[in-house]
C-alpha cells in the first residue's frame, strides 16, 4: 500500500518536473520571438520616419505666409434643439442640408428638421449609449448602434401610426460596442467601426459581411470615407493612437500614421481627399497629408487642456472646427495653424460636430442634452 502511494507520488513529481522543463523550453523561444519582433518593428519604424523626413522640405505655415490672414469671426448659435433626455453622443446631416439625425445615451434616436426645430421621427433603441448614427444618402433611412454591438437600419416612414422599430433591419454584428457607422455612396452598404478593434463593410439588404479590416491594436473610435474619384478608401482612428487608411476592396491597410499621444476620437478628410484631420484626447488636432505620407500640421495651444471629441472642415477646407471636452468649440485656420476663434455655449462636453453638406452651418451635439446649429 505504501509502495503504491510512493510510486504515485514519484510519478506525479516526475510529471511536474517534466512539465516544468517543457514549460521552460517553450517559454524561452516565445519571449525571444516577441522581443525579436519588437526590435524589428522599432527599427523599421525609425527607418520609415527617416524616409518620410527626407522629402519634408517646408512647413505648412511657411508656405501659407503669403496667404491673407482671416478677419474677425462671428459665429453664433442659430438653433438649439431640445428633446433628448440624456447626453447626445452622435449626429449626422441629411443630404437635403437641413435635416439631421441624433442619438443619445438613453437609447433615443431622433430625426429633426433642424431649420424649423421640429422633431420628425423618434426611435427608442433596445440598448443605451447609442454612439453611432448616420443618415442614408437617399434620406429615407437612418442607421444607428452602440452598446448592442450591432448596427441597425430604420427606414423612415411618414405614417405617424407606424412604429419605426417594427421595420428595423439588423445589419452589422460586432463582438464589442459600435463606435461609428457611415453609409457608403448609397443606401446599400454600411461601413462600421467597433470597440472590438476592427472595421467592417456590410451589405444592408442581406446583412452579409463584405469585408473586414484588421490592424488596430485597440478599440477603433471613428472613421470617415474618402471623397476621392475612385471612392475606394477610408480612414479610421483608434485608442492605439493610430490613424489607418484602408482599401475597401482588398481590406488592406494602405497607410498608417502614429503621432498622437492619446486616443484618436475623430477623423475627417480634407475636402480634396488628399489629406485628413484628426482630433485626440491629447488636446491637439493634426493634419496628415496622404501624398507626402506624413503629419503636416498640429493645431494646439497651451491654454487648451481638454481633449478633442470631434472635428470637421468648412467647405473650402480653410477652417477646421473642433468640439472639445471643456464645452467649447475652437476654430482653426488650417493653413496658418492659428486659432481663429473660440465659441462658448454648451454646458457640458461637445461630443459630436459636423458641417452641413452645403457648408452653410455646422451642428454640435453635447452632453448637456442639446444640439446647436452654428452659422
Amino acid at each position: 500500500k505504501y509502495l503504491s502511494t510512493f510510486i504515485k507520488t514519484l510519478y506525479s513529481t516526475s510529471m511536474i518536473f517534466y512539465s516544468c522543463v517543457l514549460y521552460i523550453i517553450c517559454e524561452v523561444p516565445l519571449n525571444e520571438t516577441l522581443a525579436h519582433l519588437k526590435t524589428e518593428s522599432e527599427t523599421l519604424k525609425s527607418k520609415l520616419e527617416e524616409e518620410r523626413a527626407k522629402l519634408h522640405d517646408v512647413e505648412l505655415h511657411q508656405v501659407a505666409e503669403k496667404v491673407e490672414g482671416l478677419g474677425q469671426f462671428v459665429m453664433k448659435t442659430r438653433r438649439t434643439l431640445k428633446g433628448h433626455g440624456n447626453k447626445v453622443l452622435c449626429m449626422d446631416w441629411c443630404k437635403d442640408k437641413r435635416r439631421i439625425v441624433s442619438s443619445s445615451q438613453d437609447g433615443k434616436v431622433i430625426v429633426w428638421d433642424a431649420f424649423t426645430t421640429n422633431k420628425e421621427h423618434a426611435v427608442t433603441m433596445p440598448c443605451t449609449w447609442v454612439m453611432a448614427c448616420a443618415y442614408a444618402p437617399s434620406g429615407c433611412a437612418v442607421a444607428c448602434g452602440g452598446l448592442d454591438n450591432k448596427c441597425s437600419v430604420y427606414p423612415l416612414s411618414l405614417d405617424k401610426n407606424e412604429n419605426l422599430a417594427a421595420k428595423k433591419k439588423s445589419v452589422a454584428m460586432h463582438t464589442n460596442y459600435l463606435s461609428a457607422c457611415s453609409f457608403t455612396n448609397s443606401d446599400m452598404q454600411i461601413l462600421t467601426s467597433s470597440g472590438d478593434g476592427t472595421c467592417a463593410l456590410w451589405d444592408v439588404e442581406s446583412g452579409q459581411l463584405l469585408q473586414s479590416f484588421h490592424g488596430h491594436a485597440a478599440d477603433v473610435l471613428c472613421l470617415d470615407l474618402a471623397p476621392s474619384e475612385t471612392g475606394n478608401t477610408f480612414v479610421s482612428g483608434g485608442c492605439d493612437k493610430k490613424a489607418n487608411v484602408w482599401d475597401m476592396r482588398s481590406g488592406q491597410c494602405i497607410q498608417s500614421f502614429e503621432t498622437h499621444e492619446s486616443d484618436i476620437n475623430s477623423v475627417r478628410y480634407y475636402p480634396s481627399g488628399d489629406a485628413f484631420a484628426s482630433g485626440s484626447d491629447d488636446a491637439t488636432c493634426r493634419l496628415y497629408d496622404l501624398r507626402a505620407d506624413r503629419e503636416v500640421a498640429i493645431y494646439s495651444k497651451d491654454s487648451i487642456i481638454f481633449g478633442v471629441s470631434s472635428v470637421d472642415f468648412s467647405l473650402s477646407g480653410r477652417l477646421l472646427f473642433g468640439g472639445y471636452n471643456d464645452y467649447t468649440i475652437n476654430v482653426w485656420d488650417v493653413l496658418k495653424g492659428t486659432r481663429v476663434s473660440i465659441l462658448f455655449g454648451h454646458e457640458n462636453r461637445v461630443s459630436t460636430l459636423r458641417v452641413s453638406p452645403d457648408g452653410t452651418a455646422f451642428c454640435t451635439g453635447s452632453w448637456d442634452h442639446t444640439l446647436r446649429i452654428w452659422a
Partner: protein
Amino acid sequence: MTINTLAKGGCHREQMACFRKMEKVIVAMQDPDMGMKMRNQRLLITVIPHAMTGHDIIAWLTHKYRISEEESLHLGNMLVKYGYIYPLKEPRCLVLRPDESPYRFQVRPLTIYLAKKNIRKQGELMEYEKERYSLLHKRINHTWDFVVMQAREQLRASKQRRKADRIVLECQEQAYWLINRPPPGVNNVLDTGLERPNNFSCRVTLVSDFIIEACRKALGRNRVKSSICLEGFLKYSEQYLNHDPIMQGCLPSNPWISDDTAHWTMNAEIVPVPTRLRVERWSFSFMELLNDAMGRREFMTYLEKEFSAENLYFWQACEDIRHGESSKIVEKVEDIYKNFLAPGAARWVNIDSKTMDKTLEGIKRPHRFVMDDAQMHIYFLMKKDSYPRYLKSDLYKNMLAKAIVPQETKKSVFPFMRRQRHSSPSPAQTATQAAEEEGLAKGAGANSAAGSHF
C-alpha cells in the same frame, strides 16, 4: 466579450492627460517667481491668509496664455470645477467669479493627511506611508511649504477652532465633496463616459507582425515632396473660397441666419436656371461636374452631340453595380455586357484590349468590383478628352452666361420681423410618392424595354 461599465469617479485613462495638464497650470500659478501673488484676503470681517481673488486669477491666465478674458474665465472655471481651486465665499457654488471673491489652491486631501500625521507623530509614519509621503514631497517640491503650512493650520484649527481656519477648512471640504458627490443638477466632472480600453495583450504578436508588414510596405512607397503637397492646400482653399458660406457668406442670404430658404430653393437639385457659382464649380474638377445632377445632365447632352454618350451611360451602370444591392449584381453585370461590351452591342464602349480581356474573364464569375478596371479606363478617357472640350464648348459657355447671380438680401430690410420658418417635404415623403407613382405606371402595363434611365 468584455463587459463595459460606466466609470464613476476614479482616474480614467482619457482624463489622466487633462489632469496632468491642469496640474501643470496650477504648478505654474504657484511658482514663487512667475506665479500668482498671494495675499491676505478679506472675507466679511475675517482675514484669510494665502488666498487670491477671482480677478487676479483671470488676469494671470490672460497674461500667461495670451488669451481673451472670456477664455480665461472659462479656463479658470474649469480649474474650480475640477477642484484645483476652491472658493472661500459661497463654497457650495463651484464657479469662478471675476471679482474680489477670494479663492485658494486645493491640496489633495491625502497629502494634507499625511503631512498632518507626520507632524503629529513626529515622523513615525508607516513604511508605505513614508514612501508615499516622500514621493509626494518630490512631486510638489516647491509647494511643500504650503502643504506643511496647511497641515499645521488644520491641526491648530482642530485644537483651537479659530474662525478663519474653520471657514477655510469648511470651504475646502465642501469643495472636495461637491466634486466627488455632485448634487443633482450639477455636472459630474468626473463622469468620463464609457470605459474604453479593451485588453489586447494576447494580440501582441499579431500586431507586431502587422506593424512590420505595414512598415515594409510604407518604405517602398512613392512620396511627394512637402512643398508640392502643401501648395495644393493653398490652391484648393483659394479656389473654393467664394463657395464657402462660412468664410464668405452666401447669396441671397444664409438660411440659418436670415430664416429665408431662398438659397436652398435656388440651389435645389434640378432648377430651371442654376446659379453662377454652381456652374463655375463644374469647371473645378470632373468629379464636381459628375456629382451635380444638373451638371451630369448637361454633360450627357454634350456627349450626345459628340456621339460618345455611351461612355457616361457605361460609367453610371458600373457605379450602380458598385453601390447597389448584392442580390442584383449578377443580372446587372449581364445587362452591361449585353449593352456595352458584347460585339455589336447597341452602346459599345471603346476599351483597350487588355482591359477588355480581363473584364470578360471576370464576368464569368461576377462580383461587385468586376467592372472596376473598365470603369476606371472610361472615367479617365472622359476626364482627359471630353471634359476639357465640354468646358470650352458653347453649351457650357451659354450655361455660364445665363446663370443667375442672386441679389444679396440685406438683413436690415427686415430688422424687426421674424420670418416664418417654412417646413420642407421630407426626402422620405418624396421617395414614397415616387415609388407609388412608379408602381402605378408599372401596373398600367407600361413596359419600357430600352430604358432611357439607368
